[in-house]
Symmetry: none
DNA sequence: CCCCGGCCTCAAGAACGCGTAAAAGCCGGA
DNA sequence: TCCGGCTTTTACGCGTTCTTGAGGCCGGGG
């Protein structure tokens, strides 16, 4: 579960955030001043921090610096100050986003999702599309089949890449021909038949009855995961 | 140098951003519609994208999706729409930040710095890449082989460095040529054959059957660890 | 029933890309 | 100026990949 640390000295704001965040499945921690916020952050290791700048004890920028000293947790700053100077200071101190009060809850939640997504993106590896019989790794441009690498020619890879980027969606013949062979060959649908036959021989368990590289007659092809 | 792709159909905004960003040492690319933006992004690999949502051809959300299909480049959305629905849509599509027009240049620049900072944090890795037959030290720009240093010419090092920074990944011929020889020589693939032969003679145990500097015919080269 | 459009399969020549070697050109330092 | 190192260019053999044509299969419509 994603955990959020909410830091604000106004109890009604903390309450509103706690209700909204909890309802959406977040694990909510709270703090009412900067010093305890730093303590809670160290203890609880939240996935993201929502930080009000107007705290009673320490300046908000100090809190950001304190967090950034040991962590790269995403920080979303909440503040009543709308002047650009305050925003620039907070962002340059290490904040990830700056939302002015009063704020729309929808927007704050969307920015929070964006921040969390980025935080997670750092941890995950390559974009990989997986089927029951083979694995397409789009970043390193490799295809593996039961642990063993399958060699694809440039044209073959071009087709697989387009399909793998649109899993489950129907891709038209014209689009495939255009992107792999260029605009001059959008009618050479025979190319597709030849190459899909090759791909099925290389990738499908039973090339005569493909389960992942599907022909939609008269329309195009579909990559079924 | 940090490179920024600015996408907007209003020339005066593009001009204003270009002037401000260039003055602060950014390398600025521009596009005036969604389709060319995607093309420029693929070609130029910018470090961050500033994207206007009101483009003439494609919907801005489509552009975001198109970028997110293959990349996690930070995207800062610019838009005249202030309603939270638009913000939520853009952020959930994969944008990193949302700034409403008219915007303060100071604030935009600060948000841009924040986005770039996050992007860079993701890239720092081990400055030493090790294979079974040699070791590449990216920090001091040296290659060692059984304890003994191997001398590389500047061009050879350029190739090794790019490959070592993308271990396991397939790097296209175009990218190698562009980064080592410059944009005017992206078709001189013979250079690559000559230099990879040299590198294999210097680094591989059996230059005729390379295990680490792998050619992917028609596509590019791969550094296998 | 037969025809026809779209699909699959196979095969062979052409075209392409790669590795290698070696020569030629281009510096900067002795 | 000459020399040595580095880069660019040229040439050729070889294996792989692409293209193209021919034939067979299947299902729907006339």
């Amino acid at each position: 579960m994603t955990s959020v640390l909410v830091v604000d000295d106004e109890p009604q704001i903390v309450r509103a955030l706690r209700i909204n965040l909890s309802a959406r499945g977040y694990d909510v921690m709270t703090a009412y001043d900067g010093r305890s916020a730093l303590g809670v952050a160290v203890e609880g290791k939240p996935d993201v921090v929502v930080l009000d700048l107007g705290l009673p004890d320490i300046d908000g920028v100090e809190v950001i610096a304190g967090l950034r000293g040991w962590s790269s947790i995403p920080i979303i700053v909440l503040s009543a100050r709308t002047d650009s100077r305050a925003k620039v200071e907070a962002l340059d101190a290490g904040a990830d986003d700056y939302v002015t009060k009063p704020f729309g809850m929808d927007e704050l939640l969307a920015r929070l999702r964006a921040a969390v997504r980025r935080g997670l993106a750092r941890e995950v590896g390559d974009p990989v599309v997986e089927t029951s019989s083979f694995v397409v790794d789009l970043a390193v441009k490799k295809v593996r089949r039961d642990g063993h690498e399958v060699h694809l020619t440039p044209t073959e890879w071009g087709l697989v890449e387009i399909l793998a980027r649109n899993p489950g969606r129907l891709v038209s013949q014209k689009q495939l021909l255009q992107e792999v062979w260029g605009p001059m060959h959008v009618n050479e649908s025979q190319y597709l038949r030849v190459y899909f036959a090759q791909l099925r021989r290389k990738l499908e368990d039973d090339p005569a009855h493909p389960r992942h590289l599907i022909t939609e007659p008269g329309m195009g092809y579909r990559f079924e995961v």
